[in-house]
Symmetry: C2
C-alpha cells in the first residue's frame, strides 16, 4: 500500500548509474537556480520605497535610483567574486566549503548554518507570499491560507523527491514566463511614456516629506533592497548539479542570472520612477505599474499570475540546494549521516523532508504572515556571503598564484561590502526578528560540533586499532534463556532452534497468576520438554526486572567475553492491523535487554 | 526521565496483592458511580422544557410534571430490573455479559459496543459542559475552551491511572457538595413559595402557545428527559469494584443513587413549575431558579460551582467503568488483549488511555460544543438497557426457578419500556446525529468479531496438537550470514559471537561504491579475517533485495526445518539524541527479514 502510493507520487526507483542523466544544462539550470534571485525583485523595489516615501516624499524616486545602482554594483561585485569561487572550487564552492577550507571549521559551520536557516526561511516566505497572491485574488480562500501554503510546500517537496531534472522541466516554464512578461512590461512601459508621451493617471507630483535625507535613511533603504540579492549564491553551491563542463555552465548561468536580476531590478526601479507608484497595503507596486502600462487586460493578469508562480518557484531553489548543502555537511560528520543518502530517485530525500517539515512548522508558527518572517530573512545570506569572500581572500594570500593580488582585491572588496551589508541589515532589522537568526546560528553551530564529537567518539571506539581476535570459546556463549509466557507452537519452534546452537538452555517464565503457572508446569511435564523451566514471581506485573536479575545471576561479571543469549519468539502478523492485537511485550523487552552489552538476542519469527 | 515523571504523576507501582485495598464501600462507591446519573439532572429538566415551551407555552409546566413522573416510574422499573441483575451476576452484570450470556454473542457485543461508545460520549459531553460552565463565568477563557476541555479530560485520566480508591476519595467531595446544595435549593425554594408566600420576579403568567398537545410532543419531551437516566447502569457493571459483600453494597448504592436521582429530578421539576423558569441560551434553568431562591449571594455561586464540578465528575464514572468493561470484552477475545492488563497502580491503564484519547478527539472534532454531541448521546445507553433486560427475561424463562414468572415480568416490563424509549430517542434525534451511533455500533460489532476470529486462528495455529519435537539437527541451522557495511569493532564482536555458534559463516556486503568496496576487501585481507566475504551490487541503493536473494540461494526451499540465521550488530547509544545520528538501516532490515519464516535474527549489541 505505502510502497504503491510512494511509487505513484515520486516515480520508480532510479539506478545509481543514472545519476548523470539528472543534471542541469544552462537552459534547465537557469530557471531552477534563478527563481529565488529573480523572484525577490517582486518585493525588493517596494521594500526600498517603504523606507523612503514616508520620510522624503517625492525625492524618493530620485534616491531610489541611487540606491538601486548601489545594489546593482554590489551584485556585479558578487558576480566577479563568485566567478573566482567557481573556478577555484569545481566540486561546489558554497560558503560552507570555502569558509571551512580557508578560515577553519567554526566559520565554515557558521556559513553553512546561516545558509540552511535562510533556505528554510526562503521556503516559508516565498510559499506564504505566493499564497498571499492567490488569496488576494480569491478572498474566500483567506481563512485557509496556512493550509494552502503547506500544500504548496508539499507539492514542491514531492516534485523534488521525483528528482532534479524532472523538477527543472516542470519549473522552467513559470520562471521564463515571469522573465519575459516582466521584461516586456519594462520595455513597453518605458516606450509608452518616453515615445508615446503617456502621462500615468494618479501620477504623483507632490508627496509630503516629513524628514531629511540622512545617511542612516539611505542605509535602511539599501538594507531593504538587498533582499534582491538573496539567491545569487545558489549557483556556486550547485556546481555538482551541473552537466559537464560544470564550471563553464555554472559561470554562464551565474552571468545570465545576475544580468537578469540587474536588468529586471534596475528596469523596475526606473519604471517605478517614471510612474511614481506609491507603496500601499492593498496593491503591490509592480501591480500598480502593470495596471498603468497595460490597463485592466490580459497582460495585467498575466503579470500577476507570473508573479504568483515565480514566488512559488523560488521555493524550488531551496529544495534543490539545501539538501545538497546538508549532504556535504553530513559527509563531513557535522550533521546526521542520513542526509548523505540518496533516495529512490537519486535526490537527497531526507534533506527534502527536513526542509518541507521545518518550513511548514515556521508557516504554522507565523500563521503564514510574510511580514513577520521577512526581518529574519537576508541576514543569514549576507553572513555567508561575507564568510565566503573572506575565505577566498585568505586563500589567495596563501597560494599566491599569478595575479593573486588582483583576485584578492576583488574578493576583499566583496567581503568588505557584504560585511557592511550584514551590519546594516542586522542593525536596522535587529529588534524586528534578526535577533532570532543571530541566536539560532550559534546554537546550530554548537549542535553541529556536538554531532561531530559524537561521530568521532564512535569512530574511535569502533576503530580497528588494538582489536583482538580471540579464538572462539563456545563456553563463553553457552547460556541460552528462552523467556516464555505460555506453551505453544511458536515456543516449541524457538526452543528447537535454541537446542541446535547450545546445550545450556533454560525456559524462563514470570508468574503473574499462580493458577496459570501451575497449568504451565503440568503442560511442561505432559509434553516431556527436556529443557528446565525456571519460574520467578513478579509482584509488580513486569517481566524485565526478574529476567534481568536472572541474567545477572548466570553471567560472569568478571569475564568480559561472557555472553548471555536470550532467544525470543516473535509473531509476524500478515494483516497490517494484526500487530495491535498482540502484546508488544517482546519488542519492549528487547529494548531493555539490549542496554546490557553482554546480552545477545535471537529473534525466531513465527508467521501467523 | 520518563519513569520519574510517570512516578510523580501516577504514584509508585502497587503490588498485585494490594488489589483488595482498592475497592469501593457504599460511601466511596456512591459518589464515584453516581456522578454521571446525578449530573444529568443538570440538563434533563431543561431538555424537557426546550421541547414543550415553544409549542404549548404555559401548559408546559403542567405537562412537564407528567413527563417527569413517567421518567421516574421508568427509573423505578430500572431499579427493580437491575436489582435482579445484580443478584444473578455477582461478578458484574453489565449489559454485555447479560446479553451475551442469554441472547448470544452478537447482541452481547452490540450492548457492549453501545455502552463503550456512550462512555466515550459521556466524557466528551460532560467535560465540554463543565468547560462551558467555566467559560460562562470567565468569558476571556472562551477561545481556549477546547484546550481546557482536553486538560480536564487529562486530569481525570491521570487521577484514574493513580487507582480506583484514590479517585473515589478525590471525587466524593464535589458529588456530595452537589447533592446537598441542590437538595437545600429544592427544600428552601419550596418553603420560600409555599410557606413564606414569595412570588418570584418574572413569574410567567402568560406564554404564547403555537400548537396543540399531541402524543408526539409528549414523546419528544420524554426522550429529552430520558438523559436523566443515563448512568444508572454504572452500578451493575461495576460490581467487581465493590468491597465485600459486593452484591449487597452494590444494591445499596443502586437504591441510594436512584432515590437521589428521583428526588433531585422530581424536586427540580416541581421547583421549575413553582418558579416558571423559561429556558434560554444565556442562563440555565437551574441557575435561574437558584437566583430567585437565594438572590445574588453565596448560595447561588455555590450551586453554580457545584454544577460545574459534578459535570466534570461525571467524566469520572466513565473512567471507572469503561476500562473495566473493555477488559471483560478483551478477556473474551473481542478486543485487543492489552486492555486486560493492569498498570502500575492496578487500574486498566490502556482502557483509560484509549478513553481519554477518543474523548479528546471527539472534543476537537466537535470543537467542544455540547449541543452537537447531545443527539448522539443516550441512544447507546437505552440500547444496552433493552438488550440487558431482554437477556434477563430469557434467563428467567430458561432456568424457571421459584418466582421466575414474577421476575420475568419485571424485566419484561423494563425491556418493553426501554425499547420504546430507544425507538423514541432514535426517531426524534435520528437526523441530528443519532444516525452516527446507529452506524458505528454495527461497525464496532463487526470489528470485534474480526478480532475474535484473528485470535481464534492464532490460537489454532499455535495449539500444541500434533506438535513434533524433532531432535536437534545442527545441520539445519548451519547457515550464518553477517551483513556488514564496513569493518569495525562492532563487526568483529558480531563475527566472533557467530563463530561460537556455527562453522558456516559468511560476511555479506552490499556495494554502493566501488572504491569503498575495494578498501573493505583490502582491510579484510590485512586483518586476516577467516570468514568469507560475499559482495553483491545494488543498483537501487538498497540492502534488503540482494540480501534476500542471497538468503534464498543458500536455504533449502524443500526442507521445512531449514533455517538461515542473520547475525547483526546493533549500536546501543547511551545519549537519548544519539539514535537519530545513526542510520536505522539495521532496524528496517530486521523487519523485512522477519517476514520470512525461515530467517532467524541474532542481534549483537554494541554500546557506544
Amino acid at each position: 500500500m505505502f510502497n504503491r502510493l510512494k511509487g505513484f507520487l515520486i516515480g520508480k526507483p532510479l539506478k545509481s548509474e543514472e545519476i548523470h542523466g539528472q543534471k542541469f544544462g544552462v537552459i534547465s539550470g537557469l530557471p531552477t537556480l534563478a527563481s529565488d534571485a529573480i523572484s525577490s525583485v517582486a518585493y525588493a523595489g517596494e521594500e526600498i520605497l517603504w523606507v523612503l516615501v514616508p520620510i522624503i516624499g517625492l525625492l524618493s524616486y530620485k534616491y531610489m535610483f541611487y540606491v538601486s545602482v548601489a545594489i546593482i554594483i554590489l551584485l556585479a561585485l558578487l558576480v566577479f567574486s563568485y566567478r573566482q569561487t567557481i573556478d577555484s572550487y569545481p566540486n561546489g564552492g558554497g560558503a560552507y566549503i570555502v569558509a571551512k577550507d580557508n578560515l577553519g571549521t567554526i566559520p565554515g559551520l557558521a556559513a553553512g548554518g546561516a545558509l540552511i536557516i535562510d533556505y528554510i526561511l526562503t521556503v516559508a516566505v516565498s510559499a506564504s507570499a505566493g499564497t498571499a497572491a492567490i488569496t488576494s485574488a480569491i478572498s474566500s480562500l483567506l481563512p485557509h491560507k496556512v493550509t494552502i501554503t503547506i500544500i504548496l510546500i508539499l507539492i514542491m517537496a514531492v516534485g523534488n523527491l521525483r528528482g532534479i531534472s524532472e523538477s527543472a522541466k516542470i519549473f522552467s516554464i513559470p520562471t521564463y514566463l515571469f522573465i519575459f512578461s516582466v521584461l516586456f512590461l519594462i520595455i513597453y512601459g518605458i516606450i509608452k511614456v518616453k515615445i508615446f508621451g503617456y502621462t500615468p493617471q494618479n501620477f504623483q507630483t507632490t508627496l509630503k516629506a516629513s524628514g531629511d535625507i540622512t545617511a542612516m535613511l539611505m542605509l535602511r533603504a539599501f538594507a531593504g533592497g538587498c533582499t534582491a540579492l538573496t539567491g545569487v549564491e545558489a549557483v556556486s553551491n550547485g556546481i555538482p548539479n551541473f552537466a559537464k563542463p560544470a564550471q563553464k555552465n555554472a559561470k554562464t548561468v551565474l552571468f545570465l542570472l545576475s544580468a537578469l536580476v540587474a536588468i529586471i531590478f534596475g528596469g523596475m526601479a526606473y519604471l517605478i520612477t517614471l510612474y511614481n507608484a506609491v507603496p500601499n497595503l492593498q496593491k503591490t507596486v509592480i501591480s500598480q505599474v502593470a495596471f498603468q502600462v497595460f490597463g485592466n487586460g490580459f497582460m495585467f493578469y498575466l503579470i500577476q499570475f507570473a508573479t504568483t508562480l515565480i514566488l512559488i518557484m523560488a521555493v524550488n531553489t531551496s529544495f534543490s540546494d539545501m539538501p545538497l548543502l546538508l549532504s556535504v555537511i553530513a559527509k563531513d560528520g557535522y550533521a546526521p549521516r542520513q542526509f548523505t543518502k540518496r533516495g529512490d530517485r537519486l535526490s537527497y530525500s531526507n534533506g527534502i523532508i527536513l526542509l518541507s517539515a521545518s518550513a511548514s512548522l515556521l508557516t504554522i508558527i507565523f500563521q503564514g504572515e510574510t511580514h513577520y518572517l521577512l526581518p529574519l530573512y537576508a541576514v543569514g545570506v549576507f553572513i555567508s556571503f561575507t564568510l565566503s569572500q573572506v575565505g577566498m581572500v585568505v586563500r589567495w594570500v596563501k597560494i599566491r598564484e599569478s595575479g593573486w593580488f588582483h583576485k584578492a582585491c576583488i574578493n576583499g572588496l566583496g567581503a568588505v561590502m557584504t560585511f557592511i551589508t550584514v551590519i546594516i541589515i542586522g542593525y536596522t532589522k535587529f529588534i524586528h526578528g534578526a535577533w532570532i537568526v543571530c541566536l539560532i546560528i550559534p546554537i546550530t553551530v554548537a549542535g553541529m560540533l556536538k554531532i561531530k564529537k559524537h561521530y568521532n567518539e564512535t569512530a574511535n571506539q569502533l576503530s580497528m586499532e588494538n582489536v583482538d581476535f580471540p579464538k572462539c570459546d563456545a563456553e563463553k556463549a553457552r547460556h541460552f534463556i528462552v523467556p516464555i509466557a505460555g506453551l505453544n507452537k511458536s515456543v516449541i519452534k524457538t526452543i528447537n532452534y535454541a537446542r541446535c546452537l547450545s546445550n545450556d538452555i533454560v525456559a524462563f517464565h514470570v508468574s503473574f497468576d499462580e493458577g496459570e503457572t501451575e497449568k504451565l508446569k503440568e503442560k511442561w511435564e505432559a509434553y516431556k520438554i527436556d529443557v528446565p523451566l525456571v519460574i520467578r514471581e513478579s509482584p509488580y506485573r513486569n517481566i524485565e526486572e526478574p529476567l534481568m536479575e536472572y541474567i545477572h545471576s548466570v553471567e560472569h561479571p568478571s569475564d568480559k567475553d561472557d555472553v548471555v543469549t536470550v532467544v525470543m519468539p516473535q509473531f509476524v502478523v500478515k494483516k497490517w492491523w494484526g500487530n495491535i492485537l498482540h502484546n508488544q511485550t517482546a519488542l519492549f523487552l528487547k529494548n531493555v535487554l539490549l542496554q546490557d552489552d553482554k546480552v545477545t538476542i535471537i529473534t525466531v519469527p513465527y508467521g501467523i
